[in-house]
Amino acid sequence: MRPTFDSVSVGDNLPEQAYPVRRVDLVRYAGASGDFNRIHWSDRVATSVGLPSVIAHGMFTMATAVRLVTDWCGDPGAVVSYGVRFTKPVPVPDDDEGTAITVGGTVATRDEEARTVRVDLTAVSAGDRVLGRAQVVVRLP
């Protein structure tokens, strides 16, 4: 059931979701996005610049987090704006499990005139908040 503007209130929570991230996901994202920075696929390069291991692309984390909102509202085309700060890296171990990004969301504001709501997201991986000020404005029917 897609939410409508009138059915949504400030303070509503979107059900939290854990999204798995494995090395293969980073390789696939590198190819699809064209971002071949070696810190996202080479432990040798990642550790040489002081990272614990290969880390996820910030833009992969950003793209993953907004799925919570687009899966909730049912139309990825309804996203009017979306901004984040990258606060911590997401190290991804080279094993079969990888890691996970757990995303939660809360309706923070409603704009009656535009019929949009702002959802504030949290994104946590291995205990760290990996996104800051993550805000999605979405138009609802």
Partner: protein, 153 residues
């Protein structure tokens, strides 16, 4: 070498036209784990009022980063890419990106700030459809604001 503050206000010429294909939209959606049929099935997209399959909300980064490469590679800007960390990203969508769009991206340098030994470079990429000859204007599609942190030595 420090980032050159004189690049603020600079506008780089539009990058080559980016033609948005259905399969690229699908590939990117699969790469971020989305299974929404609006990215793969034109009928599902039309049912929501879109002309064809639409891109995921961060797809515009592909187009934006091609434009941003101009300032990163500009020797006058003085950006050492090996010291660059992504600080912030913000998309404003004037409408969704749809398969078949022919997009042009214009890069603006909005700010260069020194913060605690680092330099923060804020760029804005205005993405619109290719202007129609001879005098037509393109349609605005997305604005992508990105802040890169260039770590001090």
């Amino acid at each position: 070498m420090a980032v050159n503050p004189d690049i603020v206000g600079r506008v780089y010429p539009p990058a080559a036209v980016y033609e948005v294909g259905r399969e690229k939209i699908r590939e990117f959606a699969e790469a971020i784990g989305s299974q929404d049929p609006v990215h793969t099935d034109p009928e599902a997209a039309r049912a929501l009022g879109h002309r064809d399959v639409i891109a995921t909300p961060t797809f515009a980064v592909i187009v934006a980063q091609r434009a941003e490469a101009q300032v990163i590679n500009d020797p006058e800007a003085g950006i050492d890419f090996s010291r660059v960390v992504h600080g912030e990203e913000r998309f404003t969508h004037h409408r969704p990106i749809v398969a078949g769009d022919r997009l042009v991206a214009t890069l603006h340098v909005d700010a260069v700030k020194a913060v605690g030994g680092h330099a923060m470079v804020t760029t804005r990429v205005e993405i619109g459809t290719e202007p129609v000859a001879p005098a037509g204007a393109g349609e605005p599609v997305s604005t992508v604001v990105s802040t890169l942190v260039v770590r001090g030595e």
